[in-house]
Subunit: 330 residues, 4 copies
Amino acid sequence: MYQLNFKQDRPIDLIGIGRLCIDLNANEFNRPMDETMSFNKYVGGSPANIAIGASRLGLKSGFIGKVSDDQMGNFIVQYLKKDNIDTSNIAVDDTGAVTGLAFTEILSPEECSILMYRDNVADLLLNTDEVSEEYIKKSKALLVSGTALAASPSREAVFSAIDYALKHGVVVIFDLDYRPYTWKSSKETATYYNLVAEKSDVIIGTREEFGMMEKYQTHETSDHITAQKWFDYKAEVVVIKHGAGGSITYMKDGTSHKGGIFKTKVLKTFGAGDSYASAFIYGLLHDWEISKAMEYGSASASIVISKHSCSDAMPSTDEIDKFIGGAEKL
Amino acid sequence: MYQLNFKQDRPIDLIGIGRLCIDLNANEFNRPMDETMSFNKYVGGSPANIAIGASRLGLKSGFIGKVSDDQMGNFIVQYLKKDNIDTSNIAVDDTGAVTGLAFTEILSPEECSILMYRDNVADLLLNTDEVSEEYIKKSKALLVSGTALAASPSREAVFSAIDYALKHGVVVIFDLDYRPYTWKSSKETATYYNLVAEKSDVIIGTREEFGMMEKYQTHETSDHITAQKWFDYKAEVVVIKHGAGGSITYMKDGTSHKGGIFKTKVLKTFGAGDSYASAFIYGLLHDWEISKAMEYGSASASIVISKHSCSDAMPSTDEIDKFIGGAEKL
Amino acid sequence: MYQLNFKQDRPIDLIGIGRLCIDLNANEFNRPMDETMSFNKYVGGSPANIAIGASRLGLKSGFIGKVSDDQMGNFIVQYLKKDNIDTSNIAVDDTGAVTGLAFTEILSPEECSILMYRDNVADLLLNTDEVSEEYIKKSKALLVSGTALAASPSREAVFSAIDYALKHGVVVIFDLDYRPYTWKSSKETATYYNLVAEKSDVIIGTREEFGMMEKYQTHETSDHITAQKWFDYKAEVVVIKHGAGGSITYMKDGTSHKGGIFKTKVLKTFGAGDSYASAFIYGLLHDWEISKAMEYGSASASIVISKHSCSDAMPSTDEIDKFIGGAEKL
Amino acid sequence: MYQLNFKQDRPIDLIGIGRLCIDLNANEFNRPMDETMSFNKYVGGSPANIAIGASRLGLKSGFIGKVSDDQMGNFIVQYLKKDNIDTSNIAVDDTGAVTGLAFTEILSPEECSILMYRDNVADLLLNTDEVSEEYIKKSKALLVSGTALAASPSREAVFSAIDYALKHGVVVIFDLDYRPYTWKSSKETATYYNLVAEKSDVIIGTREEFGMMEKYQTHETSDHITAQKWFDYKAEVVVIKHGAGGSITYMKDGTSHKGGIFKTKVLKTFGAGDSYASAFIYGLLHDWEISKAMEYGSASASIVISKHSCSDAMPSTDEIDKFIGGAEKL
């Protein structure tokens, strides 16, 4: 059992904050990128994908972020608008920054890699003045993505957003989304991840991501010890993902629940985490049993990893329901 | 009444962390620096001054910091050693960084200004790997100075030190020491000052410094409201200084105490805060009544502002006792 | 008449130095990039295009440059090798730099724009130690592209290459290729362009580019005055291009020749300059009459601007000869 | 014999361009800087010292440079004014840059070292817009100091100044003044030193400095070969200094002259080069025999190295004449 007090009178269900970027997905599969000749363009970035996924499921999503003042930035905003996401709090950079890019390479379903362009990106230039207290207090939940902590001034903007969320009873959901390439050291990462996790109600990450946050600890760890650490602060729900081994969700009352995965035809593994998170959060907002929310997350992930894109492939509730109806659990 | 649990079995009384620099004080007073022809060299930096002051009063002090690999850095370490301060945890930079400089100008006792050299300084390069958990757990108290939060990696090093302090029951004392020139914006400053203040047992600062930390707040403030905010986190003692108007100390139990200042012949105002802090902390460590600790702080400040340097002028208990015996309170 | 002493005993005809990047050309034409959904990948960068064009025409080309240590960099090297270009002097970056990108937008044949990614690019990290005197002295000509002067250490690498070229009698060809986005100011640009032009035998640029180099001058200018300035240094041939107005070539002996353009179906204007340069240089190396070299350049440009890419579309001598046979001069 | 065409109708004799900084000279000699407790403040920087020295000898000097907007910058301008130097073309920085500092350590007359503060210094921020063609064409000679080439935009400002000088027949004197700490590599240094030396009429440097400029060369060198290289460009006079071994001056007509040094009581070696240069240039401007100009330079150097400062100690013609009258040549 978990207790998350989503304030029902708020017009927005979920505000994402952080990375907005472009995925350039190879049109040719199962070959090295050196030999790839054409790419398709999609909106990307973990919190963007989650906001899109949540919107497809019927949640009212909003976003706090920053885009480049060019065709790439404009494409992102237009795409989010078409998906019914409120973009009124997405700032436009005026310094000549670019939109981050992620070129994907799909060597095989199990071997996917990403070539990132993260120098001088607009999303990390979001600053405290661009985070509106009025906006945040209109939402039931705030979704924080770890990559937005990778550099100033975005880092401080996130702390401001969390301060406003705490002040106004907005549930803070922290998706760890740790990408080493934008950080200077793992100890720097651990410092800021821990400061955010202390203030979060829901924490979602892989075993490796939680492990990175425990760099400073000298004693033994385990999923149970990891989860308990955050319950001693403010967390109600901690989700620890073990890849193909499924995931385990701990709740403050001491209970935990193991979730499995569905059989599916995997095209690539990108987007599994974001699609899981959007459907799981959908369940939390509807006060579902944790097991049902986890199953919904798994089903959403199974759908997305069988398709070419992340954001474009985010399913509706009909698609998820239909998938669960016909799927085999592993 | 305040409750600070200084663990009596620890071999070190107080570890300072942060800025170690050089003061170059004009030998000619009451004239603009443009006309000053010679300067005397002293160790400087707020936490360095406090550690020296504490050592002169008989406390066992240590320091965590970083100095340049040149004659300036060597001078600082040798000076601290002569003052019986443990320098085993002062790292030496290997990147060609310099020691920060502060040229002082004393136009009149009321008009003092500082010309700072803070580009590429060694003290802000202290990193998490140079902060030893073993060392911190040997101490009763950790003194954090706000300027060490001004940039990475020093910023993360301070958060690491605080994590270790909390883990091992070391009392955290936060001297705000806000110097705008090393910060990018006051909101950036407020973000990190608040994150540290939430974890501190004792917070010492001027009214202006506390005001800067409340940038995000929209409601009215007062000394009482300011203090209460931090009691809601972890603080036991909050000192708010009003310059020539004396200071007021709040305690978690709801009591407060106003302290006055002594009559003295002022040469310059530099060093008043650091000398106050070192004597006040001396009182806290001896579990003195708060009023007595504040009086000791005021007396120490009165002595230092009548002399040419900050660090060199830090008094012994004999000097303070003698001063209080003969001084007139304003 | 011009006198360029191409040393006939050299095994390489032309070495390019400078930018190696990736063009991502929109597959959908005549629409804004915001609405473009897919891109094709080509090798790009002015000196790379010229080296490829020269190789297609039968010249032996080599290249001095630097690529990123990833799939993009590897793609570039493999592409050049397939085109029979010597890549032995292309260094691979080891600092995590990326390959520069140019996303093209073709709104109409007359309105083309480029969105550049030039932060932290490998090509500008080429350094003096990566420029081999032994290699340069094996070549008849060195092609310098202006963008390689935009930042250190690439800037110094170019000056080293020119020093070696002068020492060993290698003809220096300077293609101005001025791209404002990588420069801090036009005066900075003018400074370095002038220093290189003083040492060049052949200078090729647009009227606007030559105008930018005359920022410091207060008197009137004209094509004739521009050309004469460089003849007073070392130049033998100066080509000034006037877009659709054709081009004019000045020679040190005082003669000049106006060249026209061919009628063609324009898809986009990108690549016109590079294809012109490669065929014009081919003519110079064969000691052709200047008028014939210019016509060959124009024909090559006409072919490339009717096709989707720059590098991939570079024609062979057969294609150019056939085109000239059937084309109408404007 | 040398031919330098100093235009006699120009109101200014010599304009210096480049570094303006502060020397902080230890008041205690023959001890390590770690033990030095007080410092005296002087104007410093090689071209500043030379301009001051020239002015003391009766030349009309001017300066093109940039100072910090603080007491240090103001002190420099006031000092130059008192020495009758035209400061109308010294810009004041508006970006928060500082004045460079040089702390001197005099362990013994033979062992002197300098601790430099060169991060974010105003002098290297001089830009092309701050170099006035009108001003330069009022002068007989332009003195370029190598350190001004160490970084942009000062580097481009120097090239602009040289362009104006060449355009208006101003004699260009290049004092190599190579200080490794502000350069990224010796090849970078060699690149820009060579580009300036090619355009200079007089080149003055130590054997080591000339050697650094020949990094790219593979063949043997000698003073004679070094000098001849620059005569092939534009130089009329090349001075190569061998420290205590005296100096040798080469002239374009093939003649050379060896100069000795005077016996003197050496306090420190700082300032020897600058005082030599100012008196030697004084001789050139008066069209003296080269041997007489060299002797005057040596005498000036002997006076300065026996005193505490560089700039403050620059002698008048009376002092030099008197010194030569009573001195013993080694």
